[in-house]
């Protein structure tokens, strides 16, 4: 038996070695390495093709919808001014793009939406941690925050106008009231779902109150937090549109909501549909370009990514 695999400092204690406790197998390391190799499989090569296979189904669905839309228009159930076809809407989009109103509305709304959302994140994140971790805050304010999430944020528009007039402050106020509760609830849900065992490990490893939050609870709650952020963004965007449709004029600039409202006032259905499509497009783009990759990355790192059947 090669001597180098036995522990060099194994004490020659008759009380313990009498049991034949010297490593019996001369090549424990080899057996172990073999077992490790057998029990782990290399990650399957993916990407590229997988991304493509994810892309075509929604594209196909959109195409089908377009065809159905066109078919309904062709059937003539509604006059063209009441139900414009894809062609008319496309024309409206290009002309709005040409005269600049589209870009103005888009950039105004996007800027507000993003700024408002970031402010909501800055406020909602610490608030969420406090609600999740401090018992009495949770007991007292938790139900109210949950309730606020159910309240449609349009309901805050009149209040905002009375308090802040027709200004950007109203818009941001409505966004915050819509998005902050979602973000808070996301964190709380994420923290609640942290497996108790992980907290105990943190405790065993000697994490104090602060380290427990920063090193264990928050990282563990990240998937829930991300879901909250995603919902928070959706609420920000919706609240913003509600505010922009209702509160037009004053010092409030020209956003997508105002664009939509203008279409209504002009009874121009193509303009209305253009605005709706733009609002939808922004929502989809943010989801696809920001949240979906973020979520995928987090889940994949943790081995939580469900393998999507291609």
């Amino acid at each position: 038996m090669p001597a180098d695999t036995t522990a060099p400092d194994a004490p020659p204690d008759p009380g313990t070695s009498a049991q034949g406790r010297v490593p019996r197998s001369p090549d424990l390391a080899g057996v172990e390495a073999g077992l490790d190799a057998l029990q782990t499989q290399p990650a399957p090569a993916r990407r590229g093709r997988a991304a493509l296979s994810r892309l075509w189904p929604p594209v196909l669905a959109a195409t089908v919808l377009l065809v159905v839309w066109q078919a309904v228009v062709w059937s003539g159930v509604q006059p063209l001014w009441n139900l414009p076809g894809p062609r008319q809407v496309a024309d409206a989009v290009t002309s709005a793009a040409a005269d600049g109103t589209l870009w103005e509305a888009l950039s105004t709304s996007l800027e507000r939406g993003v700024l408002g959302f970031l402010a909501a994140v800055a406020i909602g994140t610490p608030l969420g941690v406090v609600v999740a971790r401090v018992r009495w805050v949770r007991v007292t304010f938790g139900p109210i925050v949950t309730g606020l999430q159910v309240l449609p944020s349009v309901a805050w528009v009149p209040a905002g106008i009375i308090w802040f007039g027709l200004s950007d402050a109203t818009v941001y106020f409505v966004i915050l009231m819509g998005a902050v509760p979602s973000i808070v609830n996301g964190i709380v849900a994420g923290v609640d779902q942290v497996p108790p065992l992980l907290r105990r490990v943190g405790q065993v490893l000697g994490a104090g109150r602060v380290a427990m939050v920063t090193e264990v609870v928050l990282p563990a709650a990240l998937p829930g937090y991300l879901a909250g952020l995603k919902q928070g963004w959706a609420f920000s965007w919706r609240s913003l549109m509600a505010a922009e449709i209702i509160a037009v004029g004053g010092s409030i600039g020209f956003g997508l909501g105002a664009f939509l409202q203008q279409g209504r006032e002009l009874a121009d259905m193509s303009l209305v549909l253009t605005a709706i499509l733009l609002i939808l497009a922004v929502g989809i783009a943010v989801e696809l370009l920001v949240f979906a990759p973020l979520e995928r990355a987090v889940l994949r790192r943790r081995g939580l990514q469900a393998e999507t059947a291609s």
């Binding site: 194994a10 004490p11 313990t16 406790r21 424990l28 172990e32 105990r200 405790q203 990282p219």
Partner: protein, 262 residues
């Protein structure tokens, strides 16, 4: 922490004490000393009652008992996660391992070990190197950048062991750490744990409900009764007939269990 750095002083199982006492103490102080330890979560329904147990420094003791005998509770009490309702608990600083590896899934294996070092106050510059050493000690040299879900159950448990060792605590408490593993892996990890126990000189209290595992690993096997948990009997493995010991312990264990049959 006041304990001597266990990683540098390999004391083995006999001879010198690890206690930093300048004067040679005639009888070495136990690493863990329990006297009349009781624990009840619901008043009137003790989980543990009058547990007396001494564990010498560097000893490997297996705590054996049926389900519901309070083995895990006892470990938590020793680890300081729960307070005993009565009795005295003295223990050197202890690290604790669970049946599940419970690695932090957002960190790589190496980072998991590093986090334990960081929470212990090891400076940043040393952490990486130290973590690699510890992973190499559990024979996971190439696995530092792997995440928990990329490792097998046995490998995860070894990372957890490395993480527990990173705490540099004299006592290592293990709560059925191999119970969820397949037999081949478990068998290997027995050898592995024994080797590491010898190299590091840690005091190990190993909880299991598996008689053969207890006899295989322990220098001493301590049988705990159920509801309430109390030390019923113990065997010094070296003094016994290795062939007959598992059967003998099993008989006692079954006897304990059948007392609850009415």
């Amino acid at each position: 922490m006041t304990s001597a750095p266990a990683g540098t002083t390999t004391t083995g199982t006999t001879g010198t004490t690890t206690a930093p006492a300048p004067v040679a103490t005639p009888a070495r102080r136990p690493a863990v000393r329990l006297r009349g330890v009781a624990k009840e979560f619901v008043p009137g329904a003790p989980v543990l009652d009058g547990v007396d147990l001494d564990i010498a420094p560097g000893e490997l003791v297996c705590l054996l008992g049926a389900s519901g005998c309070g083995k895990s509770t006892l470990l938590n009490v020793v680890a300081g996660l729960e307070r005993a309702t009565a009795g005295s608990v003295e223990s050197r600083p202890a690290a604790l391992m669970f049946q599940e590896a419970a690695l932090f899934p957002w960190l790589t294996a190496g980072r998991n070990v590093e986090l334990a070092l960081r929470l212990r106050g090891v400076p940043r510059s040393e952490r990486r190197e130290r973590a690699r050493e510890l992973l190499s000690l559990v024979r996971l040299d190439g696995a530092a950048d792997k995440r928990a879900h990329e490792l097998s159950g046995g490998m995860r448990q070894r990372v957890a062991l490395a993480r527990a060792l990173a705490q540099e605590r004299d006592v290592l408490l293990m709560d059925e750490p191999f119970a969820a593993l397949d037999a081949i892996t478990r068998d290997l990890l027995h050898d592995e744990l024994e080797r590491i126990w010898r190299t590091t000189g840690r005091t190990v209290l190993f909880v299991t409900h598996n008689v053969r595992e207890a006899v295989r690993l322990g220098q001493r096997v301590v049988l705990l009764s159920s509801r309430p948990g109390r030390v019923v009997r113990e065997w010094r493995v070296a003094d016994e007939d290795a062939e007959r010991l598992p059967g003998q312990i099993t008989d006692h264990l079954r006897e304990e269990i059948s007392r609850h049959a009415r």
